[in-house]
């Protein structure tokens, strides 16, 4: 296999892995940037989006959990994947707004640690509610039939179609959010707020409304990530917390409040992971053949550590950001 096709494969796999990180990181990053609110429950929004997507798109049999014990063995609307892709973001958007109003707002004036503790507690509660209702067993989130199976690509050969869709859907969503932030008045307020909340308030702009929307958009992106990411893996209640850490790392690498930073961070992480998985150090003359796959998870944190040492504000973060 040629070097070019190897590289293409690493790139494509990296893009797909990174795409989910990006979707979560954008939300985390703009909420952190504008509202200075650390949301450890962001993974829970992903989890909720995922289960909502599962129930909207297909009928699912739950063999355990309270719902099954109450006689709801098979639940779900079976409306298909597109329905989930439309309904879930709206649903989680509303959830995000409610969260801003009832969870975040009373805590804006409390110390950062209290915000983290609260959202961490909520993440546990969300995960446990899902577990109690649907059981901890794993579920199958089927890929939409129109995107199942492999696609023959030049250079690479067979590649799962759904992964290409994940990359595509993510790209479209990122562009929409980017345009919204970059080219609208709403976006201007948000961007200004990211840099200096007090200044924007001094200018007499009511920022509470745009901020609510920011929270909603961030949440909706996490929900969408759940829907598009669900079919990639088996579904269970721990996926929300599992994805949170790489999403945070993405923000740290990319820089606070920067959408471009989140995208860059996600790509770096995804490609690092995919590169390490596929890279083996082979020196036949010395008899060395060491695969780096076991280091793939370590690698993404090592990258974060290096970037942090060299450029503490993140790759595209601004220097004025004083904590």
């Amino acid at each position: 296999m040629s070097l070019v096709s190897e590289a293409a494969r690493i790139l494509l796999n990296g893009l797909q892995t990174g795409a989910i990180y990006v979707l979560l990181a954008i939300g985390l990053s703009i909420i952190l940037g504008t509202l200075k609110f650390v949301n450890f429950a962001h993974g829970a929004l992903y989890l909720i989006g995922l289960y909502a997507g599962l129930l909207i798109s297909q009928e699912t049999t739950f063999s355990g959990g309270q719902l099954a014990e109450f006689g709801f063995g098979t639940i779900g609307l079976d409306w298909g994947f597109l329905a989930a892709l439309l309904i879930v973001p709206a649903l989680v958007f509303v959830l995000g707004i409610a969260m801003e109003r009832f969870v975040a707002r009373p805590f804006y004036d409390r110390p950062d640690t209290d915000q983290i503790l609260l959202t961490f507690g909520l993440a546990i509660v969300a995960q446990q509610v899902v577990r109690v209702l649907f059981s901890g067993s794993s579920q199958n989130f089927a890929q939409p039939s129109w995107a199942a199976g492999p696609l023959q690509l030049p250079l690479i050969g067979g590649f799962p179609q759904w992964r290409l869709w994940v990359i595509g859907i993510t790209a479209v969503l990122v562009l929409i959010v980017y345009a919204l932030i970059e080219f609208t008045d709403f976006g201007l307020t948000v961007r200004a707020g990211t840099q200096d909340t007090e200044m924007v308030q001094l200018l007499g702009i009511d920022i509470s409304r745009p901020y609510v929307v920011v929270f909603g958009i961030g949440a909706a992106l996490a929900g969408v990530a759940g829907v598009v990411g669900g079919p990639l893996n088996v579904v269970n209640p721990t996926v929300g917390t599992d994805i949170l850490v790489p999403a945070f790392i993405t923000v740290v690498i990319g820089g606070l409040g920067s959408i471009r930073g989140a995208v860059l961070g996600g790509l770096i992480l995804g490609i690092t992971e995919s590169f390490l998985i596929q890279w083996s150090l082979v020196i036949p003359s010395l008899g060395i053949d060491y695969g780096f796959a076991p280091w793939s998870q370590v690698g993404i944190y090592a990258i974060a550590a290096v970037i942090l040492l060299v450029r503490p504000q993140g790759l595209l973060g601004s220097e004025v950001d004083v904590s």
């Binding site: 650390v38 209290d114 503790l117 961490f120 546990i124 446990q128 850490v245 945070f248 740290v252 370590v298």
Partner: protein
């Protein structure tokens, strides 16, 4: 953990508030007089240590063997030891969270490193429990300097995220690339703990009445470290560090402007709490003679956070009680009898309790007990 061990719990509010004016100075009332004397005595190091020793000594009896009480609690000896181990972890963690105001989500890395280092040392260097603990702690101190240095590169909200991230990195290293040392997913199975001072097998019972009260040498060994930890932390909190930590928590910029090197104090707080995390981790190995991979996983960090907050941040012994409550729910309530009705929901219940503590009772169970005590005291004085 309930009333029966309330005695030692009454002891310590550590800050130097000896000069606090108490109630009315006209103390005709005996209760008031006694209380005044108590308030004066309770901060003294000797009092704190003495009461901790008494509490540690009677706890296993009450928890696992005493009539009625132990039936109610459904406790057992080994869980009593484990509660002390986690208690050390939690009171050390509170140096960072409660005193300095820094929330670390990466203490699993320190606890786990202490546990693995102790386990590895026991298999490869020495079987003597004291040396095993010493090695576990030393390795952890080195790691906490490195982790603290990296994580404190960014202030505020980043700290929690960075500690979490670096701890996960260590977890992943132990899980695969370094599994030739750690045993990977199987955990470290080769722990060999010898007898204490070459004489007392830690698994055996203490002689006579001490055996009835305290139980095993292992518990006594761990209990001694708990007392040492309480004394040491009490000392730290009454040293210049104690007040500088609080200053940093309350107003970091101001602390800097009166001339403190805030960054170094934060690192010091991190390393101090890491030292106790490592000690607890090493004792965890002594206790279980096995190191699970999950000791490095971020859920372990989450557990110590919950314990500390539940028990009461910023109080010397609150986190110890938080640890006790958490483990009691995790081990006894989750195990069914006589809690079948709630057993499957134990973590959900703990999560909800945790959230309500954060929102409504930031001082935790310890704060509630304190409020209650003050209210009763006031009531008594009024009579």
């Amino acid at each position: 953990m309930s009333d029966e061990s309330a005695n030692p719990t009454d002891a310590p509010e550590t800050e130097a508030d000896g000069g606090k004016t108490l109630g009315g100075s006209a103390s005709e009332n005996t209760v008031t007089r006694l209380r005044t004397r108590w308030e004066g005595a309770r901060d003294r190091e000797v009092t704190v240590i003495g009461l901790t020793i008494v509490g540690v000594a009677v706890f296993p009896y009450l928890f696992a063997r005493a009539p009625v009480v132990s039936d109610l609690l459904q406790g057992y000896q080994e869980l009593a030891s484990l509660m002390l181990v986690w208690g050390i972890f939690a009171i050390g963690f509170d140096i960072l969270l409660g005193r300095t105001g820094l929330l670390s989500f990466g203490h699993a890395a320190l606890w786990g490193t202490g546990a693995y280092a102790a386990g590895w040392a026991s298999a490869n260097i020495t079987e003597f429990p004291l040396l095993v603990v010493l090695i576990g702690v030393s390795v952890t101190v080195v790691l906490s300097v490195v982790l603290g240095f990296l994580s404190l590169r960014r202030g505020g909200i980043y700290f929690a995220i960075l500690t979490l991230a670096f701890a996960q990195m260590i977890y992943y290293m132990a899980s695969a690339p370094l599994s030739f040392i750690t045993g990977g997913d199987n955990g470290f199975t080769g722990v060999e703990i010898g007898s204490f001072l070459g004489v007392f097998d830690l698994g055996t019972e203490l002689p006579s009445i001490a055996g009835t009260l305290i139980g095993t040498w292992r518990y006594a060994f761990i209990g001694a470290f708990l007392v040492f930890s309480v004394a040491a932390i009490h000392r730290v909190l009454n040293s210049p560090y104690g007040i500088v930590f609080r200053a940093i928590r309350e107003n970091e910029q101001r602390a800097q402007f009166v001339g403190f090197n805030v960054w170094r104090y934060k690192l010091a707080a991190f390393v101090l709490s890491g030292t106790f995390a490592g000690l607890a981790g090493a004792l965890f190995t002594i206790h279980g003679q096995y190191v699970p991979l999950s000791s490095l996983y971020w859920q372990t960090s989450g557990e110590v956070v919950i314990m500390t907050v539940l028990g009461g941040v910023g109080s010397l012994l609150g986190p110890l009680f938080g640890a006790g409550i958490y483990l009691w729910v995790e081990y006894i309530v989750s195990g069914g009898y006589p809690f079948e009705w709630i057993a499957p929901y134990w973590l959900l219940v703990l999560g909800l309790v945790f959230v309500s503590v954060v929102v409504l009772f930031p001082e935790g169970v310890w704060g509630l007990v304190g409020d209650l005590r003050r209210r009763v005291a006031t009531r008594l004085e009024e009579q």
